[in-house]
Symmetry: C2
Subunit: 347 residues, 2 copies
């Protein structure tokens, strides 16, 4: 983000009758023709997409034929696009993906961290284990990268480096979908050690419009996008896990919506039935702000929804602020002006 003086307030966090904290953000919604139909703030701001574009980073795995050659099923492909909780199923699935590629956790270069949920942490402690790279929320993505490296006949060592064929394949996908050239001066290192490229926010929205509609893609790439979209929406638990926005919203909308979060308050989405792609960024990087913004956007866009879908959206758009005795002390909510602006631009 090079200049966010124009980023408006998008989310408020209340306590009692007052707003305690404010979040600001940028939103871009782009249609299949590449036209920006909604812009909140300066959407030409360069944004590191982080994990929000894992589904694009998984495209070479499918397009190359590696996914088929390794016999990866939908759950495994969804895990390749995931930022997961490190729950038992996620860890086991990542391990199987590595076995299918003839590799092991020793080959992973993502580093490790503890699982997200306390019960999974406790299970590890009770087993007298430390978290491994398999528990890393990106382990499925890395297992996919390793599978791709094998398919490309490239060395697996160094697969996270910008110059490695795996990362070069991904860079080409990013350039094709965003219609932006990405150079080393906009390259950062992601938390899992791979390159991440800062591109204007509206270019990320465009990329997800293309991903969701297939507009302008050749047959093979279209088939690969469809395969990954279907894998994620049919196995949403694999994409994140228990009590997570991406999993719960994709499950509730039964294939109608693809959503994916990324670190530092980024969120991307594709809505094929509306032929729209979405990218947003909370200026300060807060996840609670990004979730409330994406929830508000889906409430505006997905008017045709049932009670259960509304309930799931509200859980993430308007979560309560609780005391340590679980009494409601306030709430996270999209700012009224932000919602009004969304309606004005999107109706």
């Amino acid at each position: 983000m090079s200049d966010t003086v124009t980023a408006p307030i998008t989310v408020e966090v209340t306590r009692g009758d007052l707003v305690e904290s404010f979040h600001r953000g940028l939103v871009s919604v782009v249609n299949a023709q590449g036209e920006e139909v909604c812009a909140i703030g300066d959407t030409s701001t360069r944004v590191f997409p982080r994990s929000a574009i894992k589904v694009l980073q998984a495209l070479p795995l499918v397009e190359s034929g590696a996914a088929d050659a390794l016999d990866l099923d939908d759950a495994e492909l969804a895990l390749a696009c995931a930022s997961h909780n490190g729950e038992d199923t996620h860890v086991k699935t990542a391990r199987v993906m590595l076995i299918k590629a003839g590799l092991s956790v020793e080959d992973m270069e993502c580093g490790s961290h503890w699982p997200k949920r306390m019960e999974d942490i406790a299970a590890l402690v009770r087993a007298e284990e430390e978290p491994s790279a398999l528990h890393n929320n990106c382990s499925g993505k890395h297992a996919g990268f390793l599978g791709l490296a094998r398919a490309l006949g490239a060395p697996t060592k160094g697969y996270v480096l910008p110059e490695h064929p795996v990362q070069q394949e991904i860079k080409a996908v990013i350039e094709a979908f965003t219609c932006e050239e990405v150079t080393t001066d906009v390259c950062g290192t992601d938390g899992c050690s791979i390159p991440t490229y800062a591109v204007p926010l509206k270019a990320w929205a465009r990329a997800f419009a293309i991903f969701g509609t297939g507009e302008g893609l050749d047959e093979d790439r279209l088939a690969a996008c469809d395969k990954l979209y279907e894998a994620c929406v049919s196995e949403p638990f694999m994409v994140a896990g228990t009590d997570r926005f991406c999993s719960d919203v994709m499950a509730a909308f039964e294939g109608r919506v693809f959503v994916k979060t990324g670190a530092e308050g980024v969120f991307c989405a594709a809505i094929p039935e509306l032929e729209l792609g979405i990218a947003l960024k909370a200026e300060d990087g807060a996840n609670r702000a990004a979730e409330s913004m994406m929830g508000a956007l889906l409430e505006v866009l997905m008017q045709d929804r049932n009670d259960e879908q509304s309930k799931v959206l509200q859980r993430y758009t308007n979560p309560p602020v609780l005391t340590r005795r679980d009494v409601t002390a306030g709430e996270v909510r999209p700012a009224a002006d932000f919602v009004a602006d969304l309606y004005a631009q999107l109706s």
Copy 2:
């Protein structure tokens, strides 16, 4: 915060050569005469101080004579002002405070949560225990409240409620130190179930100028402030714990600085030698922003410091952003314009 459109960018979080996220904030510095000598953003904005004013909330415990009657030592008084990590020493000390008051964990109304550090979580899991109210970061404060309730001859049950004598005593202290009347419409419920009152940020800075200098206080209150100040700076580990800003900075400055953090990006400080009180708030509530802002302020104000003190400040003002393999990918840093503004106003 009723209106923060004027909150400027104060902290940047970089990745590679770009800024990935921005934080905004408000800062007020007030002298012993109650004059605001530095204002960043609209410092008349009402701010919930949360745990940043625990030392003021502990004053009635000392002033009432309860602290002496219960034979509380410096470590216990520091814990009464603490937001601690829930490390073994913190938990044991809180338990002793309750025993001295003839009470137990059953009397605490703060709720519970897991300790902050993974090794303390693991120790609980290995012991097949769940966290109790003693592990709550506010447990020392609540043990103090219970001791005060006993000294006041008030029922201990309901000591967290706004109308309870304990909370009424604290409200009177807040009104005296901030020179603001606090009414129910600016009252929220804190995470540990006690009332928290939103008062203009500059009034909190004023309160800490009074706390640090004793300006205008009667003899008993002055003695109580001195006792709590000395307790915190002589037992800084009790105020927070391992690898925490408040503990490390107070330890490094050996009594010259009192600092205390609060949830949602609040920080207060008193610097007696400069006769200054400080209050700041990160607009979005981010702790990383509040720490970088307070670190930058101390770097500007405490020019007379040694290498070790500089090193400690830098650790919190400019922490690196690390990958999961502990490689530096970026940094948190105070924005150049913010630092320039601090120098311009404070030199």
